[in-house]
Amino acid sequence: MSCPIPGEVRPLAEDDPALQLRQILNEEGEADAGAVAALGLGRQELLRLYRGMLLIRVMDERLMSLQRQGRIGFYGEARGQEATIIGTAAALGERDYIVPALREAGAAIFRGLPLRLYIAQILGNANDVCKGHQMPCHPGTRAARYVTMSSCVGTQLPHATGMAYAMRLTGDEAIVVGYLGDGATAQADFHVALNFAGVWRVPVVFVCQNNQWAISTPVTLQSAAPTLAHRAVAYGMPWARVDGNDVLACYAVMREARMRALAGGGPTFIEALTYRMGAHSSSDDPSRYRDESVTEAWRSKDPLRRVERLLERMGILDAAGVAALRASLDDEVRETVAAEEQVGPPPLRSLVEDVFHAVPPHLEEQLAELLPLSRQPVGARTHG
């Protein structure tokens, strides 16, 4: 008897139906016209999806470059995952909430978070809604119904379940989508969130962006289940596996899950299979731990190129149109960065704000100790 090798437990045959992915737009950018029409997306809506995806791509390129130049402290790009982010977000209603993980900022912008506020958050300047309290890539506003995340993996998922409970209790016609990565499926909070959601049958959809890497750890070391979607079975909830690089399929499964949730059918787990084309973050170097020939192979599944081919075939946007849109988005990002870089840091007082509803006396006192006024002999102080 030999000891099983971690990560090599694969009980299902490769042709098992459970391993098949929902797909509408294939890797060549071809789609059944009827299947596309059934989504009810008009030409402007398709263009809007593409624009949302392209903005992520352009923004990631620009901001990663700024990070390399030392102009921002940290960046976590979403390159390769644009279809999952925009496809699922596009299926949401205005009153729905997003409880995000690291790579969904594109969804926030798609839903109305002004680009300048996202850039301000990354710079931590005085325009930043969270007043420089958090590191880059942690945006959040009420207006965009996009909750501010922590950096802890998976902790947001019980929040999504609880929020969905509150929506049902208050009778609101809305759902919550909780995003996670493949690594988060190993967390206790993943179990907690899905278990509570299953028992309560609340209107929440969990979208797992399985990009196959948690920093250097492959998804095969996160779970011995045949697929991550199998995990949902034990929580008594429906699941879907989808080609995460197909924006139309992501839209379709999210729309179905949302309708089910609104109809009282409870939670759904979606596993979107994609690939992290870049590093985990600007602090990471994937060439040290993974075979980049696999990454190269995933280039042929690029989510943007598929949509470009579809749009071209439908006569919505040709190659020149793509180039022009790319240039205009790039200008928008450059100009926004340039403007926000002129803005100074938040005021010193912001250090002690928002810890509590009001700044308590002990924090007023600690703040005062930072001021030049406090550089006086201890005997001159009023305390004691």
Binding site: V129, H133, H159, T161, N195, V355, F356, H357
Partner: protein
């Protein structure tokens, strides 16, 4: 005016707030039909229904994590953690999420949760039904920490905690859950957070305490001869925010201080009180600051009364400090 114990007072506070504010929900392990293992939520599900008073799956991290989500959407959940000893699976959710939501979102996402949990020793509960974890949470910016010692304060502080805009950890001294009885007004009143109470006025020695230890200190005063030293006994009632002026005012008056808490001595809340007094009232002191606390051991089963600050140990500390 009815004479109630702390459990009845807590129950009534929840009832008053649930009647007044439809955003208030009560959740936790066995809090529904059963009314909680200490009966603190008894009858609430009957009055407010299973949507507002509900049993959760058995997971403290899940209770707090989902309560946070409810609060983000505008509810005012009051989750119960069955014993404070079981709060640690929720530690990450409390420390990294609940306490930091307002700050990390620049005020966009305040997170109003009141966590109720029975704490403390003296009930023959061993390691895992006896601990006093207040210092972990008092150390966490963004949380308020409230500990009543009697029924009147329990009701008034809990109502104030639910109405407060910040997350609150509400620790209930289970050793005196039923033993501490007193008159409790019916209906609506609050005891403001951040105000200590002078339980016994005196000129000789300031004694700082909270929760069940208030009763042990009073036993030391009334039955172990410590009254001879004319102690001033202060029930802090709220650890965060601390009523600094009440503490320092008393210490400046008496020049002597004994701090009593049942958690392990090292880095306990009393260490912070001692540091505060040393920083701001050192030149008023006539004697070293004394701490009477639990030992730096896990909480024992058989010898728990030896572990806990006893009336005798407290009386001795008061005498030594007074005579120094």
């Amino acid at each position: 005016m009815p004479v109630w114990n702390i459990i009845q007072a807590v129950n009534d506070a929840l009832r008053v707030e649930m009647r007044r504010d439809p955003r208030v929900v009560v959740m936790g392990e066995d809090v529904g039909k059963f009314g909680g293992v200490f009966r603190a939520t008894s009858g609430l599900q009957e009055e407010f229904g299973v949507e507002r008073v509900f049993d959760t799956p058995l997971s403290e991290g899940g209770i707090i994590g989902t309560a946070i989500g409810m609060a983000l959407y505008g509810l005012r959940p009051v989750p119960e953690i069955q014993f404070a000893d079981f709060i640690f699976p929720a530690f990450d959710q409390i420390v990294n999420e609940l306490a930091k939501f307002r700050y990390r979102s620049g005020g966009e996402y305040p997170c109003k949760v009141v966590i109720r949990t029975p704490y403390g020793g003296g009930i023959r509960g061993g390691h895992y039904h006896s601990q006093s974890p207040e210092a972990y949470f008092a150390h966490t910016p963004g949380l308020k920490v409230v500990i009543p010692s009697n029924p009147y304060d329990a009701k008034g502080l809990l109502i104030a905690a639910i109405r407060d805009e910040d997350p609150v950890l509400f620790l209930e001294p289970k050793r005196v859950y039923r033993a501490a009885r007193g008159e409790v007004p019916e209906g609506d009143y609050t005891v403001p957070l951040g105000q200590a109470k002078v339980v016994r006025e005196g000129q000789g020695v300031t004694v700082l305490c909270y929760g069940a230890m208030v009763h042990t200190v009073m036993e030391a005063v009334d039955k172990q001869g410590a009254a001879e030293y004319d102690p001033e006994v202060i029930d802090l009632r709220t650890l965060v925010p601390l009523d600094t002026e009440a503490v320092l005012g008393s210490v400046r008056k008496t020049g002597r201080v004994v701090i009593v808490y049942e958690a392990p001595k090292t880095c306990g809340y009393g260490a912070e009180l001692a540091a505060l007094i040393a920083e701001k009232a050192l030149l008023h002191l006539e004697a070293p600051i004394a701490r009477v606390a639990g030992l730096d051991t896990p909480f024992p089963y058989t010898l728990e009364l030896e572990y806990l600050p006893s009336p005798e140990r407290i009386a001795r500390a008061i005498a030594n400090t007074a005579r120094f």
